[in-house]
C-alpha cells in the first residue's frame, strides 16, 4: 500500500485548476448575471473537440507535415504522427497548445453567443435552463454519430500535453499544472475586476430584477449575450485543458453529470462569490480524488464498494443539504461596496 504523494498532489492541483475554471465561468453566468447555464458540458466539450481538431490538423501543419484523416484505417498512422511531433519538437507542441487555447476560446465564445439567442426569446425564465440542457445533449449525440470530429463513438487519443517532450513525466505534469494554475489566476483576477466594476453592478442588477435594470435603460439582451460569450470562452479553455490532461477526447465525457458537478461546486462555495467557486472546486476535487484513491486501496485488500455510485449519491445529498440549510454557500456573496459607500460612511462619522 504505497501512495505516491508527489504525483497525487500534482494530479490534485491539475484537476482543481480545471474544475476551478469551469466553476468560475458558471459563477460568472449564474452567480453574478443570473443565467441558468445547465449546458455547461456543451461549452466544455467545445474546447475538447477544438483540441481534437487542432491536434489532427494544425499540429502536423506547424511541423511541416501533411495531416492525416484520424479515423478508420489511418487511425494508428495519425496517432503516431501526433505523438511523434509532440515527443520530438516541444516548441511546436507548445505553440500548437497555445493556439488551441486561443482558438477554443474564440469558438467557445461564438457558440456562447449563438446559445444566448434563445435567452432573448423564451417565454418563461426556466425554459432557458431546459434549452441549454437539451442543447448540450444534442451536440453530444451529433458528435458521437458524426465521424470527422472525434471519430464518432470511438473517441480520439494521443492528445498529450506539450511538456511530455521533456522526457520526465513528473516534471512535465508539474509544469502543466503550473500553466493551468496560472490560467486560473488570470481568469480569477479578470472576473473579480469585472464583478467590481460598474458593469458588474449592472450584472447583479440584471440578476435581481431584469425589469428594473431595463427601465434604467440597460440593454439586458446584449449584456446577457456578452456574459454568455465570456463564460463560454472560459469553459472552452477548461475543456482544452481537461482533454489534454486526459489525452483522450470522447463525447461520453460531456454528459449532464459534468454540468451537475460544476453546479455542485458553485452551490457549495457560494453563489455569486468567486472565492466560493474556487473553494467549491477544491472541495469537490479533493472529495473525488480521495474517494478514488480509497476505492483503489480498498479494492486491493479485497473490499469492494462501488464508489462511482456512492460519489453521485453523496453529491446529491450535498446539493440538497446546502440548498436547505445554507443556500448562500460556505462563502456567501459580500454586499456591494463602492467608493460612494465609503464616502457616505466617512461623512456620516463626521
Amino acid at each position: 500500500m504505497t501512495i505516491d504523494f508527489l504525483s497525487t498532489g500534482i494530479a490534485l492541483l491539475t484537476f482543481f485548476g480545471i474544475s476551478a475554471l469551469m466553476a468560475l465561468s458558471l459563477n460568472l453566468e449564474y452567480g453574478v448575471a443570473g443565467i441558468p447555464n445547465f449546458g455547461k458540458a456543451l461549452f466544455v466539450s467545445v474546447g475538447a473537440y477544438t483540441a481534437a481538431l487542432t491536434y489532427t490538423y494544425l499540429l502536423p501543419l506547424l511541423a511541416g507535415k501533411t495531416p492525416i484523416y484520424p479515423c478508420g484505417a489511418n487511425l494508428t498512422d495519425a496517432l503516431q504522427l501526433r505523438t511523434g511531433i509532440i515527443r520530438e519538437a516541444m516548441g511546436i507542441g507548445l505553440l500548437n497548445f497555445l493556439l488551441t487555447l486561443v482558438i477554443a476560446a474564440v469558438i467557445g465564445g461564438l457558440i456562447g453567443y449563438l446559445a444566448s439567442y434563445p435567452a432573448l426569446r423564451l417565454k418563461e425564465e426556466w425554459y432557458l435552463a431546459l434549452v441549454l440542457l437539451v442543447g448540450s445533449e444534442i451536440v453530444r449525440i451529433l458528435v458521437r454519430g458524426y465521424e470527422p470530429i472525434i471519430c464518432a463513438h470511438n473517441g480520439i487519443s494521443g492528445l498529450s500535453q506539450p511538456f511530455v517532450a521533456l522526457g520526465n513525466p513528473k516534471l512535465a505534469s508539474f509544469l502543466f499544472a503550473l500553466v493551468i494554475l496560472a490560467l486560473v489566476a488570470l481568469v480569477f483576477i479578470f472576473s473579480e475586476r469585472l464583478i467590481h466594476s460598474p458593469y458588474g453592478r449592472l450584472l447583479k442588477a440584471m440578476r435581481e430584477n431584469e425589469r428594473v435594470a431595463q427601465s434604467l435603460g440597460k440593454r439586458i439582451t446584449r449584456t446577457r449575450a456578452q456574459i454568455m460569450v465570456i463564460g463560454s470562452a472560459i469553459a472552452a479553455v477548461s475543456g482544452v485543458l481537461f482533454v489534454v490532461n486526459l489525452g483522450f477526447a470522447s463525447a461520453n465525457d460531456y454528459v449532464v453529470a459534468l454540468t451537475l458537478d460544476v453546479w455542485v461546486m458553485v452551490v457549495i462555495g457560494g453563489i455569486g462569490n468567486n472565492r466560493g467557486a474556487l473553494l467549491g472546486a477544491f472541495i469537490i476535487t479533493v472529495l473525488d480524488r480521495v474517494t478514488a484513491i480509497a476505492a483503489i486501496q480498498l479494492d486491493q485488500i479485497g473490499f469492494q464498494l462501488e464508489f462511482t455510485y456512492i460519489r453521485f449519491i453523496l453529491f446529491g445529498l450535498i446539493i440538497l443539504l446546502m440548498l436547505r440549510y445554507r443556500p448562500q454557500g460556505l462563502l456567501p456573496e459580500k454586499p456591494l461596496t463602492t467608493e460612494a459607500h465609503s464616502l457616505l460612511k466617512t461623512q456620516a462619522q463626521k
Partner: protein, 312 residues
C-alpha cells in the same frame, strides 16, 4: 420502403407514445399544479419498472396486481420526496432554478441508490417475466400480448385521469390551482391536500408507466433518465400545462422517434444513433418558436368557432 418495417414502426410508435403519455401526464400535473419541473420524475419511472421486475421474480405474475403495487410504491416515494425535499425548500420562496437543481439532486440520489441495489442483486438489463405470446399475426404484422396490455392500459388510465380532472371536486381544485394559485386559495381550496393528491397521481402514473415499459423492453437504472427528456418533449409540445396537448405531444414524440426515424433512415440514410436527438430538437424548436405548443392551434380553432357563433 417495405410495408413490414412501416407497420412495425407505426406499432412501436403507438406503444411508445402511449407510455410517454402516461409519463408526461404526471410531469404535466406537477408542472401545472405544483409549478415544479420535476427532473426526478425519471427515477420514479425507473423505480416503477424495478418494483415490477422484482415482484415478477418473486413470482407475482398477475399483471393488474403488479401495476397496482407499482402505483402504490412510486406514489409513496413521490409523496415522500415532496414532504422531505420540495416542501421544506419551498418555504424559503426559492428561485425556480433552486427547485430544478433540487430535483436533479434528488434524481441523482434515487438513481444511484437504485444502481447500488441493482448491482448488488444483479438486475441489469433484465425483462419483467411475462411470457410472450403472439395474439395476432398476418403477413405484415405481429402483435403480441404485450401490445394489447400496454396500449389499452395506458388509454384506460388516461381516460380515468381525465374523468377525475373534469368531474370530481379534487380535479376541479387541481385545475383551479393550476390556473391561479392565489385565487384558488381565496376560494378555499386546501392547497396542501391537493398537492399531496397531485404527487400521488404523478408518482403513481410514472410507476405504472415504468412497469409497462419494463414489460416492453429490458430495463436498467438509467431507463427513466434516458426517457425523461423525451417525456419533457411531450410536455413541452403540449404547451407545458395542457392535458390534451400533452397526450397529443406524447404520440407525436413517439411517432417521430420511431416512424419518422424509420423514414429518415430509409430515405436519407440517417443512422439510428441519432434517434435520441429527435425529442431534443423538438424541445428546442417548440420552446423557441411556439412556446404555447400544440394547444395554441386548438385554442385558435376554439376562438374562431366562438367568434363564428357570436357574430355570424
Amino acid at each position: 420502403m417495405p410495408t413490414v418495417l412501416l407497420i412495425d414502426s407505426l406499432v412501436r410508435s403507438l406503444q411508445v407514445g402511449s407510455l410517454y403519455a402516461l409519463m408526461a401526464l404526471g410531469l404535466t400535473l406537477t408542472l401545472a399544479v405544483v409549478k415544479l419541473p420535476n427532473f426526478a420524475h425519471a427515477e420514479l419511472i425507473t423505480l416503477g419498472a424495478y418494483v415490477a421486475l422484482v415482484a415478477s421474480f418473486w413470482g407475482l405474475n398477475n399483471l393488474l396486481a403488479m401495476l397496482v403495487l407499482c402505483f402504490i410504491v412510486t406514489a409513496a416515494v413521490a409523496v415522500l420526496s415532496y414532504k422531505a425535499v420540495y416542501k421544506p425548500l419551498e418555504r424559503r420562496k426559492p428561485s425556480i432554478y433552486t427547485m430544478i437543481l433540487a430535483s436533479f439532486a434528488l434524481g441523482l440520489i434515487l438513481r444511484y441508490v437504485l444502481f447500488l441495489l441493482v448491482d448488488r442483486f444483479d438486475f441489469f438489463d433484465k425483462r419483467i417475466k411475462i411470457p410472450l405470446e403472439i395474439w395476432y399475426q398476418s403477413k405484415t404484422m405481429i402483435l403480441t400480448n404485450i401490445f394489447f396490455w400496454v396500449v389499452p392500459t395506458s388509454l384506460i388510465l388516461i381516460i380515468l385521469l381525465s374523468l377525475l380532472l373534469n368531474y370530481t371536486n379534487l380535479g376541479r381544485e387541481m385545475r383551479a390551482l393550476a390556473d391561479n394559485r392565489a385565487l384558488a386559495r381565496v376560494q378555499g381550496v386546501q392547497v396542501e391536500r391537493v398537492y399531496y393528491f397531485t404527487w400521488i397521481l404523478a408518482g403513481g402514473l410514472a410507476g405504472v408507466a415504468g412497469a409497462l415499459w419494463g414489460i416492453y423492453t429490458s430495463i436498467n437504472p438509467l431507463t427513466g433518465w434516458l426517457a425523461i427528456l423525451s417525456v419533457f418533449a411531450a410536455t413541452v409540445l403540449g404547451g407545458m400545462t395542457s392535458f390534451v396537448g400533452t397526450i397529443l405531444g406524447a404520440y407525436v414524440v413517439g411517432l417521430s422517434e420511431n416512424f419518422v426515424m424509420q423514414l429518415l433512415n430509409h430515405y436519407l440514410g440517417l443512422d439510428f444513433s441519432f434517434k435520441p436527438a429527435i425529442p431534443f430538437i423538438i424541445i428546442i424548436l417548440v420552446l423557441l418558436f411556439r412556446p404555447q405548443g400544440l394547444t395554441g392551434f386548438m385554442d385558435g380553432f376554439r376562438t374562431r368557432a366562438i367568434r363564428r357563433q357570436t357574430n355570424p
